[in-house]
Amino acid sequence: MQFTFDEDQRLAAQSLRDLLDDLCTGADLRRAAEACDATSFTVACATRRDRIKELGFDAALVPEAQGGLGLRPVDLVLLAEEAGRAALPEPLVETAGVALPLLAALAAIDPRADAVLPAAIGGAGIALRWPDSDLVVGIDTADLVLTAESETSLALYSVDQFEWVARESVDPLRRLTQLRARAVEPITVSRDASIPSLWREARRCAAVFDAAQLIGLADRMNALAVAYSLERKQFGKAIGANQAVKHQLANVQIQIEFARPVVYSAAGSLGGSLSAPTDMDTRWLDARVAHAAIAARDAADLAARTAIQVHGAMGYSWELDLQFYAKRSWALSGLHGGRSAHFRSLHEALMQQRIELGPDQLFGRSLPRGA
């Protein structure tokens, strides 16, 4: 039992943070948001995109036997937090945390997918279309598309087998598109019996990494609010000297600090790869993942509202960079059914006695039953 990150994990997160502090500032985001079309957007982000690729995190979760780094999801969670803190427009987390591991898991059972895997590890972009949505993020830079009609199959396409139309998100930096398949053949379609569990695990990973991004976003928003409160004067003193403001920002920090361990523990309970068993009974794991999704959303929701309030009228203007973080947090918060779906599933599990309770059950059952 050891619930703290190691030096390597911290250093990796710090290296990403340093890079994004340089290349993903508020001004960078604004430039990208004001890019008038997809091409100029892509150009505006090209340097950052290349530098991120160079960090080599994309294949972090792909097993070593398949040419990846063989790391565990928990190794990526601080990176996801940093991506959130910077409102990173690139789908680093989506690729490294979900799409590439899903492709690797497919490759392990499907030779045609296996043939494509090296190119994907080498930098080919992968977009992921969930079975229950027709919207896709990051198609601009994708070469491959993973998708399916339902969670019992998994199909791999080349990106040029689709047409797409841009859809506008509340977050100007989320490049949403809606895909229309041309009438062509996929690279492969698998209906292996393991596919449903791959989709389930992919959803858990997506939920946890989105939660980690939301924690980073919340932290950034509160930091912006604190900084503004120290700088802005009203009635002859910094507004941050008002106890009401201090307590509001303290409340946000409390919410963030008690969401973090939930997100980290959910990450720490995920399996080493999408097809590896998890450490926890899946009903417990689902509860912890839902809990992480909820806690992170609540922290980001409170942080966004509070930061906007503290900024006064300025908080409501497009001029303020805060908007990019707030809008990212609103967009991410709605995904996969949003807080409501996560809460409902957790609530029903609790009320219908599908998970065991008690002080000794924090990490799943700690001793065999009847001990």
């Binding site: 841009a166 006064g312 009228a313 203007s317 709605g334 409902r344």
Partner: protein, 393 residues
């Protein structure tokens, strides 16, 4: 007379009349946002339509184009207005803030000059108060209007002026005594927004549209006949206006009841999937919208019996602004991933997408509620100090 919660025959007749007129006259297609040039003109046209039916400012005296309705009648009018999903009032600042101020403080000449054009929608008015260093702390204003013959020469920088991008006139506070401090030496002055030396720059808001503006004054000359009240009386006139704003009329309860109704309808459709806590929060929102309406009826009855409005203004402001935010947050929660989509697919957009976009628009706007018209933290200070008698620090 004691508490009597039935409408009179006269009140019912008024409701019937309003309902019928709106059924005939409210545009079938919703108007474009008044933060766009096209939408602004469409809303101005709607003000004209309202005026043609003598519904544009129902509480104003008949001589100024109103109907002289009392507060309960006004509430009935508003209920029907929101029930009919009639367009937003682009001249709201004129109707509810400047108009009543002018009736109280203006000269007969000023009333004759401004009120009929305001009532008919010929002039749309913007409030020009805040400055970059003076938001909730309005007494920190620095823009000056220096008397020069029969004009004031105005210099300074105003900001957060709602509707100012397309409006015709502004009502403003300027410092006429440059040596004065805080709330002394301020004057209430109105001016056409196209006065030479006045430059209006739209400020895009969270949704990207220019719902407010900043205004730069460089030796702009405004005739002294545009002074409302006396020189130096600006602060007390403005405070009276702020009372209207936070008080009864700027946010009629019907607005929130209508939102609550739509929210309950959304929840009913979503209830098989939604979490029970979220559904319960919808019920709580509905209750609070009802409570706000009931409270307003009580205040209106009290005012009609000779009472005066006091700290209710602050209580109301905190309550409706936080309720509005909660309602929109609940809706966003019910919408899930649908809430994210913002593209205007025009006529081709499905009704549920258009509804989702309305909620997101409303959510973004509701975030500003606790900020404008005196931040809620200031209102809570006022409640503690004036209602509870706690110390001012």
């Amino acid at each position: 007379m004691s508490i009597e919660l039935q409408y009179t025959a006269k009140q019912r007749a008024l409701r019937q009349e309003v309902r019928e007129w709106l059924q005939t006259n409210v545009p079938k297609k919703s108007l474009a946002s008044y933060d766009t040039a096209e939408g602004f003109e469409a809303h101005r046209q709607w003000e004209r339509t309202l005026h043609s039916g003598r519904w544009s400012m129902v509480t104003w005296p008949e001589k100024f184009g109103g109907r002289g309705l009392d507060l309960i009648e006004w509430l009935i009018f508003e209920e029907e207005y929101y029930r009919a999903d009639a367009p937003g009032r682009v001249n709201q600042n004129g109707v509810f803030l400047f108009g009543p101020t002018l009736m109280e403080y203006g000269t007969d000449e000023q009333k004759a000059r401004f009120l009929p054009r305001l009532a008919s929608g010929e002039d749309i008015w913007a409030q020009v108060w805040s400055e970059p260093q003076a938001g909730s702390d309005l007494a920190a204003l620095r823009s000056t209007a220096i008397r020069d013959g029969d004009h004031y020469v105005v210099n300074g920088h105003k900001i957060w002026s709602t509707r100012a991008v397309f409006a015709d006139w502004g009502f403003a506070l300027f410092r006429t005594d440059p040596a004065s401090e805080r709330h002394r030496g301020l004057s209430y002055i109105v001016f056409p927004l196209d006065t030479p030396g006045v430059r209006v720059r739209g400020i895009p808001q969270l949704d990207g549209e220019a719902g407010f503006a900043e205004i730069f004054f460089e030796d702009a000359r405004i005739p002294v006949t545009n002074l409302i009240g006396a020189e130096g009386q600006g602060w007390s006139i403005a405070m009276a206006t702020a009372g209207f704003e936070r008080g009864l009329m700027l946010r009629s309860p019907a607005r929130f009841q209508r939102t609550a109704q739509r929210l309950v309808e959304l929840a009913r459709r979503a209830q098989s999937d939604a979490d029970p806590g979220l559904l319960a929060s919808v019920t709580q929102c509905w209750m609070d919208a009802e409570a706000y309406a009931l409270s307003t009826y009580m205040t209106a009855s009290r005012l009609m019996s000779g009472g005066s409005i006091g700290a209710e203004a602050s209580l109301n402001k905190v309550f409706w602004s936080e309720l509005d935010l909660r309602m929109h947050r609940a809706a966003i929660g019910l919408l899930g991933a649908r809430a994210e989509l913002r593209d205007r697919l025009g006529e081709s957009a499905q009704e549920d997408l258009r509804e989702a976009m309305r909620w997101m628009d409303g959510f973004l706007f509701s975030l500003a509620g606790p900020i404008y018209a005196g931040a809620n933290e200031i209102q809570r200070n006022i409640i503690a100090e004036r209602v509870l008698g706690m110390p001012k620090v």
